[in-house]
């Protein structure tokens, strides 16, 4: 943490009484302009999206979010099925990915024999670099038929009494999207968690072992509590990625055709991102285009909230661990 502040204030400040030189002035102005460009861009981003959504905002108000209709013919639009689809897919992906990711991270930081460590790490990093369109291609052509014929029926017969696990008729459905998103956020959560676990001071782990703790007791009593905040931040970052992903989801989620919210995970659905990706060209009225921008606005707000939340946690953890290290 202290490395962040190597540029001390004395090095930063010009010598007292020295005239500001032209070159210094120019560099400072040009670099400052670059910062202004970024800030203006972010402001413009929010402004343009809000401006585009204004027609829909004034027509439907906040009720847009809870309306379960998307009807271009009668000019009635609502975001409920897409908000629902986004929530179900991203939370579902997080629920499946988190234990797996923590397992990988613990395996890589505590258990893995030297020979396995390098290939597994390389594989995880490869997956993190995979473009979402490639993952979507794989999800549609390889994963969806496999899930439809083997996994979906098995889940239905075992857990069919829960309405989430109904009959599956199409390979492209919400559940397939959940699995694809799981694979997408798995490397994010696991690599951040691994870094955190490796960052736990060896003295603390050795102290636990010296007191007679088994390896699991050491992990549960020292490693996990120490990394807890960071793991939460990693989960939130993964959630943000899943919420914002549009392309891979569009490829495998199937698309809503008239039907609204369905609790059956094996039905096709739509998310905020996939709806925008599918419809942005086909919008037949100004109100529909504006409603799509309303969807984008909801997505923007969600991602801002999620990311700010993650940053707050990261900064708090960094401060606390800085205090611990000192």
């Amino acid at each position: 943490v202290s490395t962040l502040d190597t540029t001390t204030d004395t090095a930063r400040r010009p010598f007292p009484g020295r005239r500001l030189r032209l070159g210094d002035f120019l560099l400072q102005v040009i670099a400052g302009l670059a910062v202004v460009v970024v800030l203006v861009l972010v402001g413009l981003l929010v402004y343009k999206i809000v401006q585009g959504a204004r027609l829909s905002l004034s027509t439907f108000g906040l009720g847009f979010i809870t309306t379960d209709v998307w009807d271009p013919v009668h000019l009635t639009f609502g975001a409920a099925p897409f908000v629902f689809g986004t929530a179900v897919t991203s939370i579902g992906a997080l629920v499946i990915a988190t234990p797996l990711a923590l397992g990988i991270a613990l395996f890589l930081s505590e258990l893995a024999p030297r020979g396995i460590l390098a290939p597994v790490t390389a594989l995880v990093e490869t997956l993190a670099a995979l473009p979402s369109v490639v993952l979507g291609l794989w999800g549609l052509i390889v994963l969806a038929p496999f899930l439809l014929h083997h996994v979906d029926p098995a889940l239905h017969s075992a857990l069919g009494f829960i309405p989430l696990f109904g009959q599956a008729t199409y390979g492209s459905n919400i559940f397939t999207a959940i699995v694809v998103l799981t694979i997408m956020i798995l490397p994010i959560v696991s690599s951040i968690s691994r870094e955190l676990f490796l960052g736990v001071p060896a003295e603390m782990k050795e102290a636990a072992l010296a007191l007679g703790a088994t390896r699991w007791e050491m992990v549960r009593g020292v490693v996990l509590p120490y990394a807890r905040g960071g793991v939460a931040a990693a989960m939130i970052l993964g959630l943000g990625r899943a919420v914002g992903e549009a392309i891979a989801v569009t490829q495998v989620v199937g698309g809503l055709s008239g039907t609204g919210i369905s609790w059956n995970l094996f039905n096709p659905g739509d998310t905020l991102g996939s709806k925008i990706a599918e419809e942005y060209q086909g919008a037949s009225s100004g109100l529909e285009l504006s409603s799509l921008l309303y969807l984008a606005l909801i997505l923007l707000v969600l991602s801002l909230v999620v990311n700010l939340f993650a940053q707050v946690i990261v900064r708090r953890v960094a401060r606390r661990q800085g205090a611990l290290a000192r």
């Binding site: 560099l27 400052g32 890589l108 490869t126 390889v142 942005y280």
Partner: protein, 299 residues
Amino acid sequence: VRRADVGSLQRRNDRLRRRRIVNRSMEAVAWLAAAIAVAILGVVVWSVARQGVSQLSWDFLTKPQNLYVPTAPQGLSNAFVGSLVIVGIATAMALPVGVLVAIYVNEFAPRLIRNFVSLVLDVLTGVPAIVLAFFVFYLIVVPTHHQSGLAASFALAIIILPLVARATIEVLTLVPNSLREAALGLGAPRWRTTLGVVLPQTIGGVLTAATLAVARAAGETAPVLILSSLVGAGTSWNPLHPLMSVPLAIFELTDQPDQLSHERAWAGAFVLVMFILVASLGARWLATRSRRKLGQATR
């Protein structure tokens, strides 16, 4: 007395055994989780490699798509060219601005502005690509009434910029202050110190970040889908028109119902993934090299 001792010893042994069993089973769970994950990841990587390699050919790399005769021998060269142009322009736009932002933040800005700009950069990194694409659609495509490769470049530049800026800030903080003080002490003005002494130290780190960001941008589909997808036939280098790109080609080919299109999608995916892997490996090589150099400078 002896009986009680034996009893408590027995209990202690039982508890120890139970703790060992719990430990063993949790270790097994971690192994299992890792195995499941590795299996999934392995299957993904393997199917891209297997399906992709079998479809690769010289024609695929050198011939453009033929939209009128889908069965004719053809490739994705128009998409390769388009991606090259779009990502190239995006990098040219984002790289200097990103580095300048980092210079301002690390060398000039007071602490408050520094924290604020870092936060803005972090938030910008988290904005979904499809929202950025839609923003640029409203900013450029709607007023000019037509899509263009340039619009897609602009959206990709917004994706690359915060990645480069954040990484450059981190490398700049690693440059030892003694270097700055030495340059200033020799009478160099601050701008020469920054541009001539501090910045050259960070070239490796900046290049690493730029390479990773470019690899990321090359795989982004949402911006090219929304901003540069109404593409004409044949290969075009003109960024003022919509240009085909590799992720868009994969996306559209996946959507087709026929086997032939899917095979081309796999081959395109393979080329894209290989490019990204080579770029990441190159970036890692650059990173280790520059870290070693920075390490020597510190000593």
